[in-house]
């Protein structure tokens, strides 16, 4: 019996010892340990691990530990860790989380701490909250209309000049594609992404967010729904139910399966779309509203690198972020995975290594550079916006509410979320 007791006691001690042991992450063999959290695909994990290895080769005293998770659980994990006072030293976040995290004093001000001299200054501004540089953009994306030229031309249509085309033209071409293919291939897929509405509003000179509130009029939101309804009713695109089923996963995009001629996705998704489709896909400016002077195109940081305000290893963390955004060697590994880099030195170094699709994105972004709308950082509370907009939009598309009621409800609910 005694032996059993002793064994049990030893086991318990051993268990608690290992449990404590994992907390001790201050240094490993005299090295400074920096935890870097990010989300994404397996491919991104491989790229990131290889970038980390290169960094560690250059900085032998720093040990970077990648803390990887999938997108769905990323913010939960991050919020829980932050709440427990165990925030990663370097955190990836995206634009909707920026105001939330910066506003709650969880992020360190990086002004003058990380070299940002070479970065695109307009894009850099999209990492500032209340004048402080809380976040460094990893790279940029545009939200263009992506077209499968072959599908359009097979239906006897021409891809029009994207500097001048209108929503009506877009719908009528899409409608003809559907007709020619007996509904087996759709003219266009569509989505409820706030980026789409943001563009649509910008064409009317309105901003999605203004002074920490919704800056769009009720009419604009309604007209956007009318546009979506028209796509459905003319059969330019599939029904709302079918679109919902396709989901927001880029691998299952109708464009990626050659089941549609048009569709809007973030520009860094072009590579995946092209790979899925196996055909040439091109980027176009969004169609314009009749008489609009701008297509409302904007660039948005794909994500940001931020540093925890609680970190005790600020120096090492800053060095790591600096490496990721400024070092051509890091750029050569990461390429466009986190959006197209905005550091011209990095871009020059990686240009030849980019996939054909990414080269197209690079050319496209250069071509729209002169006509961009400013980047708007969503205010605190905007994490919910996508869901709120989706709910309101679905209620209209599924005939559960009139556009009038839904628009009012959307504005009330959205503004309430922002003032919380």
């Amino acid at each position: 019996m005694k032996r059993i007791l002793a064994a049990t006691a030893v086991t318990l001690v051993a268990i608690s010892a290992t449990a404590c042991g994992s907390d001790d992450d201050s240094d490993s063999g005299g090295k400074t340990k920096v935890v870097f959290s990010y989300w994404g695909s397996d491919a991104r994990q491989k790229l990131t691990e290889s970038a980390i290895a290169t960094f560690e080769g250059k900085n032998p005293t720093i040990d970077v530990e990648g803390d990887f998770s999938d997108w769905d659980s990323y913010y939960e994990k991050l919020a829980t860790k932050t709440a427990a006072g165990d925030a990663p030293d370097v955190m990836s976040i995206e634009i909707r989380g920026l105001a939330e995290y910066a506003g709650r004093a969880t992020l360190a001000d990086l002004t003058g701490k990380v070299n940002t001299a070479d970065l695109d200054q307009d894009v850099l501004k999209a990492g500032q909250v209340d004048g402080k540089q809380y976040a460094i953009p990893t790279g940029v994306n545009a939200f263009p209309m992506i077209v499968n030229r072959a599908t359009v031309e097979k239906a006897g249509q021409k891809v029009p000049d994207d500097t001048a085309w209108t929503w009506d033209e877009y719908i009528s071409i899409a409608q003809k594609v559907t007709e020619k293919n007996d509904g087996k291939v759709w003219g266009t897929e569509y989505n409820e992404n706030p980026a789409f509405l943001q563009l649509f509003a910008a064409q009317r000179g309105e901003q999605f967010y203004k002074d920490d509130k919704i800056g769009m009029s009720e009419q604009t939101v309604k007209d956007w729904w009318i546009l979506l309804q028209k796509i459905i009713s003319t059969k330019a695109g599939p029904s709302a139910a079918q679109m919902l089923e396709t989901g927001t996963n880029v691998d299952q995009a109708l464009l990626a399966t050659n089941a549609s001629a048009f569709g809007s996705w973030w520009s860094n998704q072009l590579t995946t779309l092209s790979k899925g489709s196996g055909q040439e896909l091109d980027l176009l400016r969004m169609p314009k509203a009749e008489g609009a002077t701008t297509a409302g195109m904007f660039l948005q940081p794909a994500m940001y690198y931020t540093i925890s305000s609680k970190t005790e290893k600020a120096d090492a963390a800053q060095k790591f972020v600096d490496f990721l955004v400024n070092d051509p060697e890091a750029g050569a590994i990461l390429l466009s995975d986190r959006g197209l880099p905005t550091n011209p030195k990095v871009v020059a170094a990686i240009k030849d290594k980019l996939t054909p699709a990414d080269q197209k994105v690079l050319t496209f972004i250069d071509s729209i550079r002169s006509e961009l709308s400013p980047i708007a950082i969503p205010p605190k509370g905007s994490m919910e916006m996508e869901d709120i907009l989706k709910r309101a939009t679905d209620s209209v598309l599924f005939d559960k509410a009139t556009a009038d009621d839904a628009a009012k409800a959307f504005l009330t609910e959205a503004n309430a979320a922002l003032t919380k």
């Binding site: 709650r104 004093a105 709910r391």
Partner: protein, 326 residues
Amino acid sequence: MTLSPAPAGTTEVPVTPPEKAGASHLGRLKGSRSRSQAWAAYLFLAPWFIGLFAITIGPMIASLYLSFTDYSLLSEAHWVGLDNYEKMFVQDDRFMTSLKVTTTYVVVSVPLQLAFALGLALVLDRGLRGLSFYRSIFYLPSLLGGSVAISILWRKIFGVDGIVNSFLGLFGYEGHGWVTSPDTALWTLIILHVWTFGAPMVIFLAGLRQIPQSLYEAASVDGAGRWRNFRSITLPLLTPIIFFNLVLEVIKSFQSFTQSFIVSGGNGGPVDSTLFYTLYLYIKGFKNYEMGYAAGMAWVLLLIIAALTGVNFLMSRFWVFYGDEK
């Protein structure tokens, strides 16, 4: 009442240990020896106690406290009194929607599921050949039903290009997105729940085995038919089991989460038609960072389930037959 059916023909296992070992052992169980044995017992129980306090009771008390605060995960908690509870019942339309959706789900799917389970149990109880095979087959969905894989499969089955539509297409019915239409989405989840009838079915089977055969024999002497047998013997004697299953399933289905989380893509859509209570709780806590509010919702859920179970027990007096009553 034992729930596991004892295979016919097995002999009872003797409760008392064999003579020899027992006598010598008991004689020495005295004094310091027994005290040290008590310690050993506590030591072996310790993992459970630690678990109970650290993982169950501690967090419960913490969550009760948090439900009176505006805790947001990212910032400190401030005391707000009953604000969260007031908001729930006065302002929050989605809270009410989630209650409505969950109640519909429970009220429709639980009776359907139990009826289905009882029906199959009656069929299987007829001394079918290969009974254990069928039992396992029918039990399988219960093991799988709450899983992510099945939820994804469900999406496919009821999709626009899914097999349900392919089948209906044979009759010229045009495709319908069952999972993605607000009018039908909840019903696909209800069907999913009914499909997991295996667990109550196994319990019913056990219950059927306990009904004395002699009652049926006596009834057949009196000329009772099959329906009469079922109405007057099977059903009354089975009511304690039905009650047990009912209580269990109501509690379980009120807490359903995975199905709606996966099938709706995590937002309870389309248009909140599958917004289960627990899903909304999760959205509030982990997506909108309103942890205090979510904690309040968890306590309301506990009260709702407690109340429903209480009502169930009260009602049981009127319809559950325990055999020893007049």
